[in-house]
Assembly symmetry: C2
Homo-oligomer: 305 residues x 2
């Protein structure tokens, strides 16, 4: 039984894409596979599972040398189970830059494309077999694309992602604006989470000038809810950084509707980061970055100290 | 202008595939590209260029940060230009295990498949656009597949590689056995090469138990020509190893027609390697390994000390 999983902080794409691909491997390719998660799905992903009546995948903490795995939505060992390079990785489907840490024991199937969403790549790989997919699989695919593109607002969106989503929505009879609003409302409901959980919810580790950063993003249609928790979020950063072996946590609150990010500025290190990376003028403990919505396209490539 | 290249010891696949993909990028995708080589093509690749009336690509020694590159037939930095991780890698098409050394600055197109030949993957990626390819491009594609599969004898051969080759041969009016015999005769003509050149001609670096090995393979229909040079080939191994920063050169002479490999055994290290890896009984300075034809499938996975 092949285990299909995404990264450690399961958002919609990292929850939905394993379900889509496990269905395809099992039902179309005849290769038994199951989706698993490396952590609790976020509120949006939990909404997607419920909305499309999909079973929540089992959460696993590691893999062994006996496990065959397909990795989706990441190729970064830091975001994967600790023993990933001992397991038998049989496939990778991803849309992120290659970080160069995964090794395989033999040639495998790897498909990386500069698209907004893993599910769009799966759509292309499945071709006409997608027609056989049940409603829940197509719904998961549509949800992944709307989530990763922030309803086509993110600059990562390609014409192809949009065309695939619109085709799926028409097929399913889904009204995109209404459904996306439900998705984003679910994502914006952060009341149940501690500050530390929010800082780790959508976070990627990156090294800048020898320093380890946790670059965290929270996408929301209700930024004020998060900004009201600004003081305690900043107070939680040092503890989270220390526990995770990082030097600094950096939090961007992305306002999906206004298409801007607010960066919390707890100290001089982040102030310098904001000024050098974005040419921003920082006067208080937050700074607004107009137009910034994508960590991949607009944050990571410009970060410097 | 995108530079498309394979590995440092250009065989037929690493010479032909860049030509095929540069044609596709330029003529179909409208993205100007040119094939380049990282060294002199081997005798078989030189025959293929001449046979299909293809221009020999320029040989380059390095790339710069200004270069956009597509890497084909490898993903191993040791087999690529020294500055590869400074260049802008925009695509990778390969059929080898992932060694994990290439990093990209943004998400790019990566396609790795467990097929025998890079050109087969290109065939699939090109789809119906292949119909527009001139005879030389289709001929290069057929040549790559026949070369990498040793005319379907290598255990790396998949039914799909074979089907693609047979379709191309029918389209081109090529008799596969006759053409493959010409290919292998060209590959077997090693008279012009020094011992050091032969040891480096088709060679991959691998680490076993902390020791660096150069695992070299020479595929031939005339093994006796090489075995007659056994003493001087073995005498050249320490010098080549030292120059290349390796501990040992290991040479397998693959007899394409008898479907077996003869391993030269210059010392106790290689004797131990042969015994532990292949369960072979070594009495002299060579050992025959029946059925062994593929470094990827039958040599690398079993090597141990």
């Amino acid at each position: 039984m092949i285990k299909v999983f995404g990264h450690k902080s399961p958002d919609t794409d990292s929850t939905g894409s394993p379900i889509i691909w496990a269905w395809y491997l099992t039902e179309v390719k005849g290769t038994p596979a199951k989706a698993v998660l490396l952590g609790e799905p976020n509120t949006e992903a939990a909404f997607v599972l419920k909305h499309w009546d999909l079973e929540k995948p089992e959460i696993i903490s590691d893999v062994t040398a006996d496990d065959s795995c397909v990795i989706v939505d990441t190729n970064n060992p830091a975001e994967l189970p600790p023993s990933i390079n001992e397991a038998k990785v049989v496939g990778i489907i991803d849309h992120h830059l290659l970080v160069g840490g995964i090794k395989t024991k033999s040639p495998i199937e790897i498909t990386v494309r500069p698209l907004a969403c893993t599910a769009t790549i799966m759509h292309d790989l499945m071709g006409e077999d997608l027609a056989r997919a049940p409603r829940g699989i197509k719904g998961a695919m549509l949800s992944c694309i709307l989530s990763d593109t922030l309803e086509f607002r993110s600059p990562t969106t390609t014409a192809h992602d949009r065309a695939v989503a619109e085709k799926l929505a028409a097929d399913l009879g889904v009204d995109i604006p209404a459904f996306a609003a439900e998705l984003f409302a679910a994502k914006s409901d952060v009341s149940a989470f501690s500050d530390a959980e929010l800082l780790r919810m959508d976070s990627k580790e990156y090294e800048i000038e020898g320093k380890q950063f946790r670059i965290s993003v929270l996408e929301t249609t209700a930024p004020q809810v998060l900004l009201d928790r600004k003081a305690s979020l900043m107070a939680s950063m040092p503890g989270v950084a220390q526990e995770d072996g990082a030097d600094q946590v950096v939090l961007f609150i992305v306002d999906i509707l206004r298409e801007e990010a607010t960066l919390l500025v707890p100290n001089d290190l982040v102030k310098t980061l904001a000024e050098k990376s974005f040419g921003a003028t920082v006067t208080g403990d937050t700074v607004v970055l107009p137009g910034v919505m994508s960590r991949k396209k607009q944050i990571i490539p410009v970060l410097k100290l």
